[in-house]
Symmetry: D2
Subunit: 125 residues, 4 copies
């Protein structure tokens, strides 16, 4: 991902609120497991919590890498472990919890086995 001028702040670095934006962008492949055509009318993934550790300043002008793994798979929820690197330095680290949510019935649903098998392939060794 390439940091944008609009993502910096007056202190001269990438603003802290941009980290959740990049983390969410890194979850596209996971969203697609639940909503293969990525249509919002069939959206399933709802965030329950997010924990971010800020380790190092991130600069404009140098690309960053976002890496995303599955850390835990529960009955209806799962945890994502995600990191942002710049110049191979760990700059931010996060754990987010999502739940499989049925917007039409407005309730949580178990994660189907077929999706669980896909998620397992992204568990960090």
């Amino acid at each position: 991902m390439v940091p944008r001028v609009s993502e910096t702040d007056g202190a001269g670095h990438i603003n802290n609120t941009v980290i959740p934006v990049w983390f969410e962008a890194g979850r596209d492949e996971i969203f697609q497991m639940f909503t293969p055509d990525l249509q919002f009318s069939d959206w399933k993934c709802v965030i329950l919590s997010m924990n971010v550790q800020y380790k190092h300043q991130i600069y404009y002008g140098i690309p960053v890498t976002v890496r995303t793994w599955i850390q835990r798979i529960g009955t209806s929820s799962f945890d994502i472990y995600e990191v942002i690197l710049q110049n191979d330095i760990l700059c931010a680290e996060g754990i987010s919890t999502y739940v499989n949510f049925n917007f039409i019935h407005q309730k949580t649903e178990p994660i189907p086995d077929a999706i669980k098998r896909q998620l397992i392939q992204h568990v960090k060794d």
Copy 2:
């Protein structure tokens, strides 16, 4: 409106891409004329063009005022004239064109007379 740290950039001022965000926020009352309950399932207002003149730097730490007028009312489209002031200084000035759009039929529709009468009340003298 109160400028946010996350809206500044590395050059130390409010980033230029924030101005369209503040202008859009200033259009809530107009959106409500077309969609009284502000539900997206009944959304009508689609932007066709936006022109922004940047007149003066905007700083964090000092509130800004967004002012919004109707400048032109056509058959199905209308123009909005909008300004941003900080310390009574004109910092940004814009003209945006919107159209009354029916998302279900995916086509432009004439602005109903009842809405035109509301828009007229916001024409700049």
Copy 3:
């Protein structure tokens, strides 16, 4: 704070990444304790971590309230407890940790006693 159209997402509600933005906006008064003139050249507050619990969907068209308290005051760091309410419903809850950082010497510094006395006045009962 008034939710903006640009802060919603395709799922129809306020996007989760906006919550950290609103929380940061709610910390202006704290930032001003450390940097009275709010100039970035004298900025002190650096975020170390952020934890957000998403409790309830937030809708466009209804104002939200952001409330901000001090939860812990350490030697050089402190914790902020913050909530977002809409229609008096607790929608999001967070704890953020900041450190008093000297950008010129690039190192952490103890929080001066005068600022500690200000922070104490914002501790949640």
Copy 4:
């Protein structure tokens, strides 16, 4: 560029305020002509105006292409012509005017010949 969930809005498409963000991201190479190390302490490029034509809805889940050309080179200012394509469809088109600004002396400066020669190489045929 890959559209992000956070860049969509409740109407189900990419929000109009994201277009200026993507356009600015497409100007990195131009910013680097004026500020080779991309340090904000030596920043030069200040935007004077922006004109965006919205031609077609942009969807999440499909990459977009941002293309950026120089359209006019004046004494101290220049115009950028920029487009956004998705599935080879022209979705947005813009013209932005920037000026070469000296932040230390707070005044406009002529564009140096060496930079003009670089800009010329990006003029649209």
